[in-house]
Each structure stands twice: as C-alpha cells, then as structure tokens.
C-alpha cells in the first residue's frame, strides 16, 4: 500500500468547508460523498462500454445460433468433416495443454530456482509469443517446416509431415500458448516459502517427498489454471492454424476454421450455433481458472 503523502504543488490552503467531518485520521475504505453524478457517471460509462462492446455481440451469437432451437446446430454438424473438426480441435487442445503444462512448469521452475548463463534470455524468449501476431507464427512454422526449407524438405523425405498436417497445428498451438503456463506458475513459485521446504527437510523428508507433499500442493492451482487457459486459448486459435494446416477437411480442419467456412458459405446461423458451443466451453474454462488463481493452496484431503 502506498503511503506517500500527496505532493503539494499548490500553496497551502485552509481546508474547504465541504470536507467531510469524519474524514480525520486513517485511510478511508471507500470514497466519501463526492458529487453523486461523478460516481454514477463513471459506472454508467463503464457498464455501457462493456454492455455494448462485449455483452451485445455475445448475445447476438447465442440468439442467432439457437433462435430456432437446435436446428441450426444439427445442420452444421451434418456437414462433412464437422465432427472431425471438433474432435481434432479438442484433442489437439488437450495435447497442447498437457505438453505445455509439463514444459511450462519446468521452465518456470528452472527460471525461478536455478542460476545459469542464458537465464535472462530464456525469460525474454518465453514472452515472445505474446508479442508476435498469430498469423506470423503460422508463417514462421511454414518458413521452417515448409517444402522450401532445408529442415522441411529433410523431414518430408523421412515421412515426417509438419506443414499441412496435425503436427504443424500442434506446434503452432504450443508456440502460442507456452507463456500462459509459465507466467501463471512463475509468480506463485516465486512466492513459495522456502522455509516450509526447509522444515520438511529437517523433519526427514527428501527432495522428492518434499516436492510432493509441500511444494506441489501450492503449485497445483496455478498449474491447473495455466493448463485450462491453454486449452481455452487453443480451441479458439485461428491465425496460426489457418496458414500452417492447409485446412484439409477431415484431416487438418479445426473448429474455428470450420466456423469460418460456414460464414463464407453464408450459413451464419449454423456458424453461430457451433460458435456458441465453442465459446461456452472457453468461457466456463476461464471462469474456473479465475477461481483457481484466486490464491488458495489445495487443501490436503487426509494423509
């Protein structure tokens, strides 16, 4: 909490009569008796902004998607490759969540606990996906693994297909979502109380036992939160996927691209139906994540 006193650039003035009589002494928990239109003006503006810019569009999608019951949804899933697209999206997103869950936690651990040459570089590199446009990510993978590159042609010759194959999509998703795990886990790791680990050591617990019983419970929430964020992000990824996957129906078509296809075919209701499902899933995941991140170490059930 900042306790700096306000700087005085105006010459001292006698206190104004409208100063609240109860205002002496101590930090007030809420702003006092400012002109009412000030606070309401603020609220109105903020709420209007969010209502119009966020709530309205979502409502539009939901109502158009299910305005006529589940008809639109059924039609959408009748299209060739529709189910495959959803399945592929969910599987790849889950894989991404697990892989980056593991490696993201590892990277966070290494960054927090070890000192080694290149540590600062690693920390910077981890943030790069946040800075790079998703489309450019796809382009990069294309540059590296496409037929025109030495790496790409080498792999192709040995039967490893990256571009225009699910592997490429996976790499794109992994790239884009890695920072989500690292930056969710890292702050919690930094705040870990080392003396809890020391206490465990003194009581006879080895490194593994200590990690399991003392450290992991504190890390479970942020790791879970990170993985859920990754999953939510991965199921909706478009830019990186569209360039890398080739969008081959039944093979590399993902749900977001499928939705795009429906829009291009002037089937907005169907698109809205599938979109609602996708969005609903993401939203629930983000809500759960927010709960997890609200700092509550997982309580040990019994032991």
């Amino acid at each position: 909490m900042a306790t700096r006193t306000g700087s005085l650039d105006a010459p001292p003035r006698p206190p104004l009569p409208r100063l609240d009589p109860g205002a002496g002494g101590g930090a007030a928990p809420r702003p006092r008796r400012r002109p009412p239109w000030g606070r309401w003006g603020l609220r109105a503006t903020a709420l209007l902004y969010l209502a119009v810019m966020v709530a309205l569009p979502i409502v539009a999608v939901l109502t158009r998607g299910f305005g006529n019951g589940f008809g639109a949804l059924k039609d959408a899933f009748a299209a060739p490759g529709a189910w495959k697209a959803v399945e592929l999206t969910l599987v790849l997103a889950a894989l991404t969540a697990v892989i980056n869950g593991v490696f993201g936690t590892l990277i966070a651990y290494v960054l927090v606990r070890y000192r080694f040459p290149g540590r600062a570089a690693l920390s910077t590199i981890v943030d790069i996906p946040f800075a790079i446009p998703t489309l450019v990510t796809g382009v990069m993978l294309r540059a590296l693994y496409g037929p025109a590159s030495p790496v790409g042609s080498f792999l192709e010759r040995h039967g490893v297909h990256v571009i225009f194959a699910p592997a490429g999509i996976l790499l794109a998703l992994l790239f884009v979502t890695l920072p989500l795990v690292v930056r969710t886990v890292q702050p919690v790791m930094l705040e870990l109380d080392r003396s809890e680990e020391e206490a465990a050591h003194v009581l006879g617990a080895g490194r593994i036992r200590t990690a399991r019983s003392v450290v992991l419970p504190h890390l479970r929430p942020p790791i879970a939160a990170g993985m859920l964020l990754v999953f939510a992000r991965a199921i909706g990824e478009f830019g990186a996927v569209v360039i890398v996957s080739g969008n081959i129906i039944g093979k590399t078509l993902t749900a977001p691209v499928f939705i795009f296809g429906l829009i291009s075919q002037f089937k907005p209701e169907q698109a809205a139906a599938v979109a609602s499902l996708l969005f609903g899933l993401s939203f629930v995941l983000v809500l759960v994540t927010e709960r997890l991140v609200a700092r509550r170490p997982a309580k040990e059930p019994e032991e």
Binding site: M1, A2, R4, T5, G6, L8, L19, A23, P31, P35, R39, L42, A46, Y49, L50, M53, V54, P57, I58, A60, V61, F103, I107, V110, Y114, F116, L122, I125, V126, I128, A131, I132, P133, T134, L135, V136, V139, M140, L141, A143, L144, S149, V151, F175, R233, G236, E237, G239, V242, I259, F260, I263, A272, A275, L278, F279, S282, F283, V286, E290
Partner: protein, 294 residues
C-alpha cells in the same frame, strides 16, 4: 568457561564422505538436465521458427524488400493497420481506464460479473468475434436497417474492422491498470481533494501519473494485439484489396497467391514492430518501477 578442544578445522571435501560429495554431484546433474531440457524445448519450439522466418526474409533479398514496400497495396495495408490500431488504442485506453477505476475503487455489486465480462474477449475465438459483428450488422442483423438508412457501411468496411479489434483488445489495459489502482489506494487522491482539487484535476494530476507505466504497458499489449489481428477482420472485411485489407490480410493473400516471399517480408516486419514495441515498453516499465520504489 567452555572447553575449546583444539581440533584442526576440516576441509570440506576431505571429510568422511557420508555420500556428501555424491549427493552434490547428483544434484548438479539434475540441475543441469532440467535446465538443459528447458532450454532445448524453448529453442526448438520458439527460437527455431523465429530463425526460420528471419532466414526466409533475408533470403528474399534486399531487392525484394524494397519492391514489396513500394507496392501500393502493401502500403495501403500498413496504413489501414495503423488506422485501426490507433483508433483501437484510443478507445480501449480511455474507456479501459474508466472501467479499471470502477473495478478497483467502486464497491459495486456484481463486480465479479463485470470482471468476468472484461476477461471474456480473451476466451472468444476471433472468428466468433467477426461472426458476432456480421450477425449484428450484416444481412438480417439488428442494426443493419438503421445504418443502411443513414448510408453508413459497417460490414466489408473499416468500421466493422475497428469494432472487432476493439472487442478483442478490451481486456489489456484494464487488466494492467485495475490491480495497480487497487494496490495504490485512494489516499493520494483524497489528499488532493482536501487541498481543493476537483475530481478531474485529481485524476490528471494524481491518478494518471501513478498508473502511467501500467497504462503504457496495456497500450503496448493492445497495439501488438491489434497489429496482429487476423481472424475477426478476415470475417468482416471481405478482403477487398486496397480498401479493407490490413497487413495481416495481405500476408494471407500473398500466400494464397503463391507470393511467399512477400508474405515472409511483411510478416517479419510485423513481428519486428511488435517485439520492439513490447521490449521497449518493458524496459521503460522497469525504469519506471525502479523510480517508484526509490
């Protein structure tokens, strides 16, 4: 009082090895392996693709760079990206601060719900955002009649592209500024008000300077995201070259039409701009934080 036995000090490695040196060696091995794995993963996943695109862009040759940037459609694409980004930044920054103030300072019922709404755009696939815009302003949309009557084109035109980009960028400024506002507390503002400052004066002279770095970082994130937006603008723009084609849309078309080199060049440019922007702000933020702490 105490008897000090004159035992000579014992050098560390010469002691009866109760597996001590072995423990150290094993621990160092574990450290090394874990670090190694982390670095390899980061290298393969992150660095290699970066290297790949830089290599491809360089391979195209300086001549291709000049040629690409002298093309009118390329220039227009960048220009459009700039306009959209600038508008988005202004809107999300100003209104973002308003929302942040409300979230942090106003004991508002349903605050958690509002917070969820703020985070909502992060959960939505960009394609869905574009779809929402089409649903609202396109054929059969609620708002189409009104805008048609006034001769304003939303879909397949700039306004829709700005709108979707704003939606997508809403969280960034708010999520940077709101926590800081909460941490800072209201004491300084109260002090200013007791000294006679109006609400507006207080905001500009006291609140704004305090949140300046968080705000700038939020703006940087917004800019990077807006520059890179593809999914939503693809849906609403109609990809009309020279009119509604942003830099990202140009890249997409370039690859569609087989002009890979140009795609790589523009892509590298966008990546460079974003990375430079964010690292620049990061450096400034650290400097700002250090000043705050002293």
């Amino acid at each position: 009082m105490s008897a000090r036995t004159a035992a000579p000090p014992v050098a560390p490695n010469a002691t009866a090895p109760r597996s001590d040196a072995a423990i150290l060696r094993r621990r160092r091995l574990i450290h090394g392996s874990l670090t190694g794995i982390a670095l390899v993963y980061a290298a393969v996943l992150l660095i290699a693709p970066l290297a790949g695109i830089i290599w491809a862009a360089i391979k195209a040759g300086g001549h291709a760079w000049v040629e690409t940037f002298s093309q009118p459609d390329v220039r227009h694409a960048f220009y459009l990206t700039l306009i959209i980004t600038a508008t988005t930044v202004v809107v999300t920054a100003v209104l973002g601060v308003v929302v942040a103030l409300m979230l942090a300072r106003d004991p508002f019922p349903g605050r958690a719900l509002v917070s969820a709404f703020v985070d909502l755009p992060l959960a939505v696939s960009p394609v869905i955002v574009g779809l929402a815009c089409v649903l609202m302003f396109g054929t059969g949309g609620w708002f189409k009649p009104w805008f048609d009557a006034h001769g304003i084109q939303i879909i397949f035109a700039l306004p829709s592209m700005v709108l979707v980009t704003i939606f997508i960028c809403i969280p960034f400024v708010i999520r940077e500024v709101a926590p800081l506002l909460g941490e800072l507390g209201t004491e300084e503002e109260e002090a200013a008000r007791t000294l006679g400052a109006s609400s507006l004066q207080t905001f500009f002279k006291v609140t704004l300077p305090n949140i300046r770095w968080a705000l700038l970082y939020g703006i940087a994130l917004t800019t990077a995201r807006a520059i890179g937006e593809i999914g939503a603008v693809l849906v609403v723009s109609g990809q009309i070259t020279g009119h509604t084609e942003t830099a990202t849309l140009f890249i997409l078309r370039a690859f569609d039409e087989g002009r890979d080199a140009q795609g790589y060049i523009v892509a590298t440019t966008l990546a460079l701009v974003s990375v430079l922007l964010l690292s620049g702000i990061e450096i400034l933020k650290h400097r700002g934080e250090r000043k705050l702490a002293s």
